[in-house]
Symmetry: C2
Subunit: 272 residues, 2 copies
C-alpha cells in the first residue's frame, strides 16, 4: 500500500502505535520503507485479587476497559460496586476490588467468560435468556442526523487512518459525540465507552452507540444492558443480532454509507 | 445501502443466510425492502462427552470447524487422535471423541479456552511462550503470484458479496486455491481450513494462507502450529502479530490492494 506516515501520527496517544521497517512490493519493485502498525497490548484483569482474564487490547483507557468488561459480564452492576481500581500500565495489570455484589465462584466466572469472544462464545439466542429488560425510549432521530454523526465518527478515527488496524465506537446524542474510543477489538471499543459512562456517571438512556464493527448477538447484549435504544453500525449485522435487537427493543441500523442506511429493527425511532 | 439481492444468493449453502424485511433510509426517503443477512449459528463442541465451548459461527463445515478448533487449542495433535466425530446440525452440537492424547482437566481447558477470543484472550507474546518450532521452508512467491491469488480470493467470497458479514480464508499454493472457507469469525474461517487439512490429510507445508481479517498474535500462532511459511492478509497486522511472525519464521504480508502490498517479515520468500 502506498500509505505514507501522516503527520497526524505524531498526535496519537503514546504507545498506541509502533514504527516498523517493511518492504513495499509491487509487480515490478521491492523497496524498504517505514510503516506504522497498531500496538497489541495484553491487559490482565484481577478481580478481588484473583486473575480473571487477559484481554488483548489497545493500550489506552485501561481503567475504562476493565470496568466496562466487568460490567458487560455482569460482575459489576453500578459504580457503587467499585471499591478500588489500580492500573499498572507497566505490568499490564488492572486490579479491581468490588463490594456489595455477590460473585459466583471462579469456575462459573471462567465458564461465563468464554461467552464474549468474537465468534468464540456461547451467547444468548433469545431475549429471555439474557435476563435483560426491553429498552424503552421515545428517542427519535432523522436520517440526516445519523449520516452526520457517522461522518464525524469516521473522520475522527485517527489510529485507523494511520494503521488500518482498529475498531472505533462512540456514545452520541442526536447531534454530538459524547465519548469516542478505539481498540483493536470491536468488543473492547464498546466496553471502553460503557466503562467510562459508569465511572463518570454519564447516562446512556435515550442515547446512540456508533460502531465500526459487525453487529453480532454479543454486541446487542452489551448495548441492551446499558438500555441504549439505538445502535448504528457502518457494517453488517448477523441474524442473531437482528433477532435480539427486535426482542430487546433496540433500533438496529447497519451499512451506513454516505446518505444511505438499512434500518433492521424498530424503525419507529427513525424519521425522514 | 442500495445493495440488491443478487441472483448469486440462490447458490449459497442452505442456512448460510436469512432474508429479512428492512427499511432503506436516505436523507429524504424511507422504504421497506427485502435484505439478506448472514446467519449466526451457535455450535457447541463436546469433547469426550464433556461440554467444552460454544462457538458462534456460520453453519457450514461444522465438522472441520470442530476439528480445527481442537487442533488450534492443542487438544488434538494429529488425525490419529480422532476416534469419532458426530455432527448434529439440528441441535448445533459436534461430539468429538479422542484417543492417544493426554488432556488436561476441564478447568485447565476452560482457562486455556479464554485464549483465542478476538481481543479477549491471554495470548502468546514471544515465540518461546508458544512452544512452537520456527517454520522452515524454502518456498518463494512473486508479487504477481500473490496479487493473482488475492484477486481470485476476493472474487470467490460469495457470502461476503451478498451480506457484507463474513470473513474468508484460503489455503493456496503459488497458483491455486486448494481450500476456501467463510465464517462470521476470522478465527473460525482459519480453523475450518486447518480442520479440513487434518481430516483429509492435506499438507500445509510450503503453502500459503490467505485471510480477509486483521492479523493479531492468535492468528500467527494458528498458522505456525501448522508450519505454514506464508500468511497473506487483505488487512492490517498488529504489533504482536508482526513480532511473533518474525520470531516464528513466517513471512507476513498485509494490505494487499491491487498490485501493492506490505511485507512485514521474512521478505526473503518474496521475489519481484
Amino acid at each position: 500500500m502506498a500509505r505514507e506516515i501522516s503527520p497526524e501520527a505524531e498526535n496519537l496517544p503514546p504507545g498506541a502505535i509502533e514504527k516498523v521497517v517493511i518492504h513495499r512490493v509491487t509487480s515490478d519493485s521491492k523497496e524498504t520503507a517505514e510503516d506504522i502498525i497498531v500496538r497489541e497490548f495484553p491487559l490482565t484483569i484481577l478481580l478481588n485479587g484473583q486473575e480473571l482474564v487477559t484481554l488483548l487490547c489497545s493500550p489506552a483507557d485501561l481503567k475504562y476497559l476493565a470496568i466496562g468488561f466487568l460490567y458487560s459480564e455482569g460482575l459489576l452492576q453500578s459504580k457503587e460496586n467499585i471499591k478500588r481500581v489500580i492500573v499498572d500500565e507497566t505490568k499490564g495489570v488492572v486490579r479491581v476490588e468490588t463490594k456489595g455484589i455477590e460473585l459466583a465462584d471462579t469456575d462459573a466466572v471462567f465458564k461465563r467468560l468464554i461467552t464474549p469472544g468474537c465468534g468464540r462464545g456461547a451467547s444468548f439466542y433469545s431475549a429471555a435468556d439474557t435476563g435483560l429488560e426491553k429498552v424503552e425510549s421515545s428517542l427519535t432521530v432523522s436520517g440526516t442526523e445519523i449520516f452526520d454523526l457517522m461522518k464525524t465518527f469516521q473522520h475522527r478515527s485517527l489510529i485507523f487512518r494511520t494503521t488500518g488496524g482498529v475498531h472505533s465506537a462512540a456514545l452520541c446524542d442526536n447531534r454530538n459525540t459524547l465519548i469516542f474510543s478505539e481498540d483493536i477489538g470491536r468488543h473492547n471499543a464498546i466496553d471502553k465507552i460503557f466503562g467510562q459512562c459508569l465511572d463518570r456517571n454519564i447516562s446512556t438512556n435515550d442515547r446512540i452507540i456508533l460502531t465500526s464493527g459487525r453487529v453480532s448477538s454479543e454486541i446487542i447484549v452489551k448495548v441492551a444492558r446499558r438500555q441504549v435504544p439505538l445502535l448504528v453500525s457502518k457494517s453488517a449485522p448477523t441474524s442473531s443480532g437482528v433477532k435480539l435487537a427486535q426482542e430487546l427493543g433496540i433500533t438496529l441500523i447497519g451499512f451506513v454509507r454516505g446518505t444511505r442506511m438499512n434500518v433492521y429493527t424498530h424503525d419507529q425511532r427513525v424519521t425522514v
